[in-house]
Symmetry: C2
Subunit: 360 residues, 2 copies
C-alpha cells in the first residue's frame, strides 16, 4: 500500500518523544484513540506509523511518519490537511519535508511551462530572466502602465503586479490590466497581473486576462487556497503562473516543501521567495534547498523557475548569479523605483548586468 | 479616511524597534522605499503608519499600525494579505489583533444563522448544544452512517465529519452524505459533511448537500482559502456553516483574531477550536478571548457559536459548562467512540449531562 513519508521536527524531552511521535501519527491520520478502532484493516492501512526518530542537530527530534496515500483523496487541500492540518495548531511540531509516492505524483501535472517554457516565451536561452514589480498601491492604472512602459523599453522580461494589488479603487483590475498590457504590447515583455478573490471574481479576472492577451499571471496560493489554484491551473489557465509566497508563514512549514515542492506540484511555473540577505529571514541553505526542490527531477514534472526577491538591488546581481547560476529569475522592485525619473535607465542597467552573464 | 488598526508583536532589541515598526508599516502597505514615492496623496493616504509602540509583558514590543481600508479592496483574501501577507514570512513578527472600521464591516454579512439560528434548528433554547464526529478515516459510508444513527438516537444535536474526510475511496463524498443524512433523517440531529476541494468539486458537493436536504456543512477556511469560503457563504449556501481550524497554525496569528473575528466576518455560524487542557496548546485566556471575539457585539453581525474541542470527554463537561456558560457547543469525538458497542449509551450520557444544565 502506498504511503507518504513525512518528516517533522518535534520539540520534546527525551522521555516523551516516543509518545509524542505516536500521538502525531494518530493526529494526522485517524485522529481518535486507536484502541477504539475495531477494524484490523484500518490499523494496518490507515493509521499513521512512526518510521523513525532521531535527535535533531538544533535540539528536539526528527520524526518520520508514514501516512496512507489514500487519506489524501485526490485533492491538494486534503493533502496539506493530512500533512499538517491539526498539527499546525501544535506549537511543538514543525513540518519539514515529505516524500510522495509515484501514485500521488501521477495525479498532478506540475508546471505546464516550467523553466524551458518561460525561456521560450521570453526568448532568453542562455541567461537568467529579469523581473520587476509595479508599485506602490495607490497609483492609478495609467501611472502603473507608465512604469510598465519604462520596464518594457528597458527589456525587462517579466513585470508583475505588486502582490498587494487586487481590485482596489486606485487602479481597478480591469482598468489596470488593460492599460498595463497595452504598455507591454509589441515588446517581448510579459505582464503578470495578480489574480485575487473567490471563484467568481477569479473567473471574471480570467476573462479579462484572456480577452486582453495577457501573457502571464501571478497567484498567491496561500491567500487563494491551494485547491483553487490547482484547479485553475489544471482546468482553465492558458498562460504561465508566477506563485507568490504571501501568507506562507515562516516558521512552521519548511519553505522548500511548501514553495518548492507543493507550489510546483500544483503547477507554478515560477516561484517568488525571499532571498537570503534581504528583508526576510531565509538562510542561504533554505534558498538552496528551495531551488533544489523546484528544479530537481521529480515525477516527470517540468522544473519551476526560482525567483529570489525581497529587497534585492543591482549591487547584488553578481553574487546572486554566482549563487544561483543561469536558471533563475532575478526580481528587483523597489530598488529600481528609487531611480524615479531615471527608471528607464536604471532598469536598463539591470538588464545589461544580467545580459553580460550570458553563457556562450 | 478609514484605517484598519492592526496590533503586532515584534521581537526586537530596544534600539531597533522604531525602525522595525516603520519597516513593518511599509511592508504591509506600499512595500517599497517610501523615498521613491513622489505622490503626496500616497504618503498621506496609503502608506501605513506606526500609531504606537509599547513594551510587551512577555518581552518584545506591541506595535499598533494604521493601514488604509481601501488597500483591502473588497476581498477577504486581500484583507488578510494586507494584515499579514509578507510579514507572515518574517519570523520576528506576530499578528495579534485588528480593529476594523465600520465601512469594512459593512461589506461583510457575518453569520447568517449564528447562535440563535443554530438553537432554533436544534430546538435547544436553554442549554449548550452537543456535537460529535464520525471517524476514523477508513470506515465505509455504511459504517459511518451507523455511527450517525447511534448519535442521533442518543439526541446529539450536531454530527460532523472528521475533518480528514474529503472524497476518499473509503467513503466517497456522495455515498457518505447520502447514507449519513438518511441516518439522521426524522430526528432533530443535523449532519455536517466536510466540503473540500477546488471550486468545481465544491459546486458538485453543494448539489449533493442540497439534493439530500443536509442541514449543515463544515468547511476549513485555511485549507479552502478564505475568499472561496466567503463567496460560498454569501452567494450559495442555504445551511449553517461549522468552521474547522485545520491549517490555522499555532504561533503566528492570534487565534481570537483568525478564528473568532475573521471566520465570523466571512460567515461561520459555529467555530471549532482546540479547548484548553486537551491535545493542543491554547490557554484558557486564549479560549476566553476567542469566545469574546466570536460573540461580542460587532458590526451588527450575529454571534458565532464557540465549539471547544480536541480531546474532550464526559468528565470535563461540568468544568467546561462553568467556563463557557450556556452559549457553547460541546464537541466530544474520540472519547465517545471508545465506548465501542456501547456508543449509543455513552452518547446518551453526554446528552443527559448537558441537558441537566438546562437553565430554567
Amino acid at each position: 500500500m502506498d504511503r507518504l513519508t513525512v518528516l517533522y521536527h518535534i520539540d520534546s524531552p527525551q522521555d516523551e518523544i516516543a509518545a509524542r511521535a505516536a500521538a502525531l501519527a494518530v493526529e494526522q491520520s485517524v485522529e481518535m484513540p486507536v484502541e477504539a478502532i475495531a477494524e484490523a484493516r484500518i490499523h494496518r492501512e490507515v493509521v499513521g506509523r512512526v518510521l523513525d526518530i532521531s535527535p535533531a542537530e538544533e535540539g528536539g527530534f526528527l520524526v518520520r511518519i508514514g501516512l496512507a496515500l489514500e487519506t489524501t483523496g485526490n485533492d491538494v487541500g486534503q493533502l496539506i490537511n493530512i500533512l499538517f492540518g491539526n498539527s499546525s495548531i501544535q506549537d511543538h511540531v514543525r513540518l519539514l519535508d515529505a516524500e510522495f509516492p509515484e501514485a500521488l505524483l501521477g495525479r498532478y501535472a506540475g508546471p505546464r511551462f516550467g523553466v524551458e517554457g518561460l525561456r521560450q516565451r521570453a526568448q532568453a536561452w542562455n541567461r537568467p530572466l529579469t523581473a520587476s514589480a509595479i508599485k506602490p498601491l495607490g497609483l492609478s492604472a495609467q501611472d502603473l502602465a507608465g512604469l510598465c512602459k519604462s520596464f518594457a523599453e528597458a527589456g525587462i522580461d517579466i513585470i508583475k503586479d505588486d502582490h498587494g494589488m487586487g481590485d482596489q479603487s486606485y487602479a481597478p483590475f480591469k482598468e489596470r490590466v488593460v492599460a498595463c498590457q497595452k504598455a507591454v504590447a509589441g515588446s517581448a515583455t510579459l505582464y503578470a497581473p495578480h489574480l485575487t478573490g473567490g471563484p467568481k471574481a477569479l473567473a471574471e479576472q480570467m476573462e479579462i486576462v484572456e480577452g486582453e492577451g495577457v501573457g502571464m499571471v501571478m497567484m498567491s496560493p496561500m491567500l487563494l487556497g491551494l485547491p483553487v489554484v490547482q484547479e485553475m491551473i489544471a482546468q482553465r489557465l492558458q498562460v504561465p503562473v508566477l506563485a507568490h509566497p504571501a501568507m506562507a508563514g515562516a516558521s512552521r512549514i519548511a519553505p522548500p516543501l511548501l514553495l518548492g515542492k507543493l507550489f510546483r506540484l500544483i503547477g507554478a511555473d515560477a516561484v517568488v521567495y525571499p532571498n537570503y540577505g534581504g528583508r526576510f529571514g531565509y538562510s542561504p541553505q533554505t534558498c538552496k534547498e528551495l531551488v533544489q526542490a523546484a528544479k530537481t527531477e521529480w515525477g516527470g514534472f517540468k522544473s519551476a523557475l526560482p525567483v529570489p526577491a525581497g529587497g534585492m538591488n543591482l549591487a547584488r546581481i553578481p553574487e546572486m548569479l554566482d549563487f544561483y547560476g543561469q536558471d533563475v529569475m532575478l526580481l528587483i522592485g523597489g530598488a529600481l523605483l528609487l531611480a524615479k525619473e531615471n527608471l528607464r535607465q536604471e532598469a536598463g542597467k539591470f538588464v545589461a548586468a544580467v545580459a553580460a552573464k550570458e553563457a556562450s
